[in-house]
Assembly symmetry: C2
Homo-oligomer: 492 residues x 2
């Protein structure tokens, strides 16, 4: 197969768009801004879901499901949240179509089926969930509520890109309720850490943990924790957020509990989410000009075996040998595909599996049968070596671990060399334009300065890193005093 991918250096953005489509991850649909997630892309998302779901359950959370629609009056109850999402809401106004009297075979909205109250397609579910929690919480004994939902949400974005920004996307949203401020803050931090562990251990993506500024905070939150990743083009990508909601939603929906002394108090809340946007981060962190590079921990197919043969008899001999190998690999819980299609040549298959990012390719031909060997190729390094079939399964298993670790290390090295401390605005602009990455700079803490820097450079404050050190300095823009550096970057 011919890949014909635009290279990253030619046009990073175009490379990404082409790769997502050509690798069969997703494509645009006939519905503006909405994507179709294709089976290969969805299989990666399923692996992400399975790991995250396990991690949520291990930290005491249960899944539930809440309605897709939010009545307008419920939606507007928490004012900041409503204001934050009002500009991008899909609104259901009618509940029936009827035949178009003027055009046979066509339908029109039935004007007699107008809803008394409009329904908002959830852009996020705090409103519907907190209106439900009101009925679930009476006493401190009912707390904490530790609930997660896997769902689709809709935000009517004007400029969309596959996975990164789509009108509809899939996500999980955790919504928890607690008796104390302290416990809710601990929960927010815990889930940020769960996301960071997932990003690093499964996606092989290093992340910076931090707090959002007030400007970038979730609408309705008191504090937003986030994990920020760095893509290969030097732009940042927000990979997950965890919000400490204070008592905002409890007050808006009147969710109170009787504490141990019998006194009524408002409940403390958190919410946290990651979405199919992670698919975009995965692609942009590791992939190269040959196609996808998938970390073994999330690859739907970890090993592909391609037979090299001329005759049916050779294929049969190879298949016999390969079936033993496959059985051994499966015992080690390695997912393996034997690509014995007779319709395509090995070269085509090599290119296809490279494009699709399968971490390890094994080729085997008549000569290998004679010599008792396999040719083992790594997708990440595009290197190959001939290995004896003795102990090959264990070798492959170790190799997959090695690839996982190497991908993380490579991404971490890139990230580490792309955090640049600057002390003047000239330096700031220079680094941003010519190097990219996170620019670590002092900031005076005002939204005005943040906004001006954004206007001038398109860089936003990605986060106030949690591991940042206290140091006195001068704001890179105004020169006003600052006690800590923050991370600026251009971002997706």
């Amino acid at each position: 197969m011919s890949k014909n991918l635009t290279t990253r250096s030619e046009d990073y953005s175009k490379w990404y768009n082409e790769l997502v489509v050509k690798a069969d991850l997703a494509e645009n649909s006939g519905v503006r801004g909405c994507m179709v997630i294709k089976p290969y892309g969805y299989a990666i998302w399923e692996k992400m879901q399975a790991e995250l779901d396990r991690m949520f359950k291990e930290t005491g959370h249960q899944n539930a499901y809440f309605p897709l629609f939010v009545p307008k009056s419920m939606f507007e109850a928490e004012e900041k949240n409503a204001e934050g999402f009002a500009k991008e809401c899909a609104v259901v106004t009618h509940y029936r179509l009827k035949n178009d009297p003027e055009k046979p075979g066509k339908l029109i909205v039935d004007p007699n089926a107008k809803l008394e109250e409009e329904l908002i397609v959830r852009p996020t579910s705090e409103a519907i969930i907190w209106s439900t929690y009101k009925g679930w919480v009476q006493s401190y004994r009912d707390l904490p509520l530790l609930i997660n939902q896997w769902a689709n949400v809709v935000r009517w974005e004007m400029r969309t890109r596959l996975f990164l920004r789509t009108a509809e996307f899939l996500w999980q949203e955790g919504h928890t309720a607690h008796a104390t401020r302290k416990e809710a803050i601990e929960e927010s931090e815990k889930m940020m850490n769960v996301y960071a562990d997932f990003a690093q251990n499964f996606m092989a993506i290093p992340v910076v943990k931090g707090l959002k500024t007030e400007t970038e905070r979730f609408a309705g939150a008191e504090e937003t924790y986030c994990i920020e990743a760095l893509m290969q083009d030097g732009k940042a990508l927000q990979a997950g957020t965890s919000h400490f909601l204070g008592q905002n939603f409890a007050e808006a929906f009147d969710v109170k509990f009787a504490n141990a002394e019998g006194k009524q108090e408002y409940v403390w809340g958190t919410s946290w989410g990651v979405s199919t946007r992670l698919m975009g981060a995965l692609v942009m962190t590791h992939s190269d000009d040959q196609g996808l590079v998938l970390p073994p921990n999330l690859a739907p197919i970890q090993v592909v075996v391609v037979p090299i043969y001329k005759t049916d008899e050779q294929l049969a001999q190879i298949a016999e040998e390969v079936n033993k190998l496959i059985a051994d690999l499966r015992k080690l819980r390695i997912s393996v595909k034997f690509d014995d299609r007779t319709t395509h040549k090995p070269g085509f298959k090599f290119a296809e599996w490279e494009l699709k990012g399968v971490p390890v390719r094994i080729a085997v031909g008549p000569k290998d049968l004679e010599n008792g060997t396999y040719e083992v190729a790594r997708r990440d390094t595009l290197t190959k070596e001939v290995k004896s079939k003795e102990g090959i399964a264990a070798f492959i298993s170790d190799l997959l671990d090695q690839i996982q670790a190497d991908l993380f290390k490579k991404a971490l090295d890139y990230r580490e060399t792309h955090i640049t401390e600057v002390n003047s605005f000239e330096e700031f602009k220079d680094v941003l334009e010519n190097k990219g990455g996170f620019v670590s700079a002092h900031w005076d803490g005002t939204a005005e300065t943040e906004e001006k820097i954004k206007e001038l450079t398109k860089a936003t404050i990605r986060c106030i890193p949690l591991n940042g050190v206290e140091e006195s300095g001068a704001c890179v823009f105004t020169g006003n005093p600052s006690g800590k550096r923050v991370f600026f970057a251009k971002a997706y």
Copy 2:
């Protein structure tokens, strides 16, 4: 805890509604006709999903995800399908809210954000999926496409009931495309059989496999296969459907392929689905006046252990013993909960776990510790016995299998005694009114007769059973000739 459940004989419908809420399965939300699926209910649905998903994958299907919205022009392309769902469509007409100039803090739909074309919230996804398949299929080598989607759908039903009929529900929908009519029919039949196996082996619900009449067929299908279950009140419930779509959607969306001879042909299609409605079937098939009865294969908690103690020291001793038991049960992949809450008495706990349908309850007190015994209670039969702790884990494992088998047998016995052959319309009405269940009767094959019988008795033809024998008879209503009996029933 006090259950205060209405009994089935008092009011079956009220019993069901109360049970679903009191057992923490689901509740009505603040959105008309939409339910909240609570964690305990969702945990059962997750077990259903896991098994079905495994079965779909074992039969060669892959998951994918398609948009929530369907543009109106796309929706109306397959006319019969559009006509069938037009009357219950939620329609998105706008994409933004704005501040209400007259009421501060309130929002109104922004009239300047009207969509050029209305979007239908999917009631089912044939339209969006077949419009996508057009791009995926060129040659016979691209076929078959064997795809499934887990999703939410919306049908604006006027009368709703938790799980059984809700405006939004969760389901899976398989959509496959084939090169030949024969292969598509085989696929429809295969998936009906997968559903039947799932219903019988996991839900412990016997089902009748059959074909729908033209009147009851899916809008846009050439043939609808179904599985029909019988509830304890003698009413039938359609538990799953599998449609042979012929070339209807391929023609509507111009999905053609080049066959092996290079000739263009329309693709053949199927679609098949089961939904959260199965939760309703599960509740209504097995549960009793004490609460839920869950088949072990779908119970989120299979065994609950309740300690009986007076002192903290006794509780500690019991816990030590129970922890060994739990470890042994978990090794056998049995999910077990130790209810060591100190806030509730054993009697309360017994009632709560009965209400929630946990298949096996183990109670253990100081006397049991002395004697080396456990008290083991079955939820389905409400019987209990004292067992030696020697070999208890294996005993429990066998007991769970026994309960699963007994529940199926009980439901099958009920179903078998509630299929009644009738040969006159008097008999028909008598059985329907006084006994319920499936009424096996000759029918002249016309929609008119079907409709008249429905008007007079509220009974519909649930299916034309696939295992029915050819026999010549006279239609129970018109006396016209008939070659086969069909199953009538009142239905959910």
